[in-house]
């Protein structure tokens, strides 16, 4: 595919093409709505670029194929939606433990259980707080538009390689299914990529390598390995917090939202400003590491926060932690396929203004 001009693609296709452009040459996945366009697109594109597409027998197999492909040195990716991501958690824990780079996309749908196929943000805890067993972290990107989905997917491969850590693209059914014009820009690495000195490709000219996550001997070996992981997470936390702020300088009320919800909230900020209300928006782009500084700052200058998310209240916990509960945090959200309109959010803003009498 050429890199000239904008083309109209669905979010799932935008993400897939970004992966191809970034040099992803191995994809394994399993069909689940609303992300089916990803394996479908990859099944067509991968052979064109000399890569491998496998429709795995399960999400468990798919993530383990990624484990193998990454160990063999390939840029690789899998995608799924909420119930399928639950199945991948075992493999994600192993990949994180083995410090293997890969990209995992979750186009979230309604849950818990089989839920439904409408958009949701109810896998926030699973993505950001763990999901699988053990002390590990995923770098989590939350794109808000399709051009940003394109860019962050490319970046995800670089950061995965740079930090030797799996990166999750946390999208949702709306982002995956909507179409918008996107410029297919050529890939350029945004960080200096380290040599992959962990790759298992046969021990010709070197000592045999072992990739493992079992540490039995000596007795403190696993403690040391965990300390190594934590040191890496500390580095990522210091270097990679990304966010965007909209009209927060003079804001009395600061909305906190991520992903597609933040895009909707931007509309509400505009309506509120037109009505003379000083409302701003903080949009985390990385959900882990969580950009806590803007919330700390806003907690000094604003009177109140409003968290909007497509879940019963998960992201709100990190907003409260980041703002150190210094100002009240209001909530607008629900799971199961509910999503807000700009007017819904504006109504909530009006209610807050009426009942809480926000003043300059």
């Amino acid at each position: 595919m050429s890199s000239q001009g904008k083309i109209l693609l669905k979010g799932n296709e935008v993400m897939s093409e970004a992966a191809i452009q970034a040099g992803c040459r191995f994809f394994a996945g399993y069909p689940i709505t609303p992300q089916n366009e990803v394996p479908e697109y990859m099944s067509k594109r991968m052979p064109q670029v000399g890569g491998t597409f496998i429709q795995a027998e399960s999400e468990i197999a798919a993530i383990n194929m990624i484990f193998g492909a990454s160990a063999a040195g390939a840029r690789c990716m899998t995608s799924s939606s909420s119930p399928g991501i639950s199945l991948k958690q075992e493999g994600i824990s192993y990949i994180a433990a083995a410090q293997l780079p890969c990209v995992i996309a979750n186009m979230q749908r309604g849950g818990p259980g089989l839920g439904n196929i409408r958009a949701s943000q109810a896998d926030y805890f699973q993505a950001v707080k763990g999901g699988g067993h053990g002390d590990y972290r995923l770098i989590v990107f939350a794109p808000s538009t399709l051009p940003e989905l394109y860019k962050l997917t490319m970046n995800a491969f670089d950061y995965a390689d740079y930090y030797r850590n799996p990166v999750m693209i946390l999208g949702d059914g709306i982002l995956g299914q909507m179409a918008e014009p996107v410029e297919i820009l050529p890939y350029e690495p945004i960080v200096e990529l380290p040599e992959k000195d962990f790759v298992l490709d046969g021990c010709k000219g070197r000592k045999p390598r072992v990739l493992k996550t079992l540490f039995l001997r000596p007795s403190m070996a696993l403690v040391r390995h965990n300390d190594l992981l934590q040191a890496s997470y500390k580095k990522i936390t210091a270097e990679l917090k990304l966010h965007e702020e909209t009209e927060t300088d003079d804001a009395e009320l600061v909305i906190a939202a991520y992903g597609i919800t933040a895009r909707i909230a931007k509309g509400a900020v505009k309506i509120a400003r037109q009505n003379g209300m000083k409302v701003g928006l903080i949009r985390p782009i990385t959900l882990w590491p969580f950009p806590d500084e803007p919330f700390k700052r806003a907690a000094r200058t604003a009177d109140r926060f409003l968290v909007v998310e497509m879940s019963g209240g998960q992201f709100i916990e990190d907003v409260k932690l980041a703002s150190e509960c210094k100002k009240p945090v209001e909530f607008l959200g629900s799971g199961g396929g509910w999503y807000p309109t700009p007017d819904n959010i504006f109504e909530k803003i009006q209610t807050i203004y009426e009942t809480e009498a926000l003043v300059d």
Partner: protein, 243 residues
Amino acid sequence: MEFKRPTALLDACTHYCGGCGHGIVHRLVAEVIDELGIRQRTIGTAPVGCAVLLYDYFNCDIIECAHGRPPAVATGMKRVLPDRIIFTYQGDGDLAAIGTSETIHAANRGENITTIFINNAIYGMTGGQMAPTTMIGQRTTTTQDGRDITSEGPPIKVCELLSSLDGVAYLQRVAVSTAKDVIKAKKAIKKAFVNQIEGRGYSLVEVLSMCPTDWKLTPKQAVDFVNNEMKKVFPLGVYKDKK
């Protein structure tokens, strides 16, 4: 002829119990790797189970996998590095219980990998629980009155099961309980590696193996158990050899 340690084996002290079959099979695999001259382009997968410490013994690249997932991991590796030799070394719980799905589908895709399947009819590392291949009436720590066909079902016969799949290239069941069996086992293992080198697809060698510790038998009794009991339920032979 001088009897030496194969280059593909490290100079290590074994953690396997006296009379265990793993050591014999490790050596056979290592001899085959040496004879084919493929050590420096071979990558092994270590399973969960007694053989998880494969990397303490094999002098080649090794990746340790989650329980049951070696066929999927090997699939990822082989597709990225088609000119390398990938083998999985799996126990009965790994291959035929928690990883049945991965096994069947890797086999059916005809993944060009080699699988060494150790069938000792028990879970070794966790201390002697029932395996999918535990025999009817066999006592284990989770079938203390013996495996009951009405509640646990009969043992799964992996070679017979996989032989129905058109994607599979080669299936043979061998044993390591007599000297003659060991010689035959090595021939089968060699063929399973040669098949991969020649690009024939999925090859699996099932090895009936001894676990005296968890069978609560002496090494001699364990050998007799394989010869007199297991071979009846799991007949030795070639189950598939696709031309």
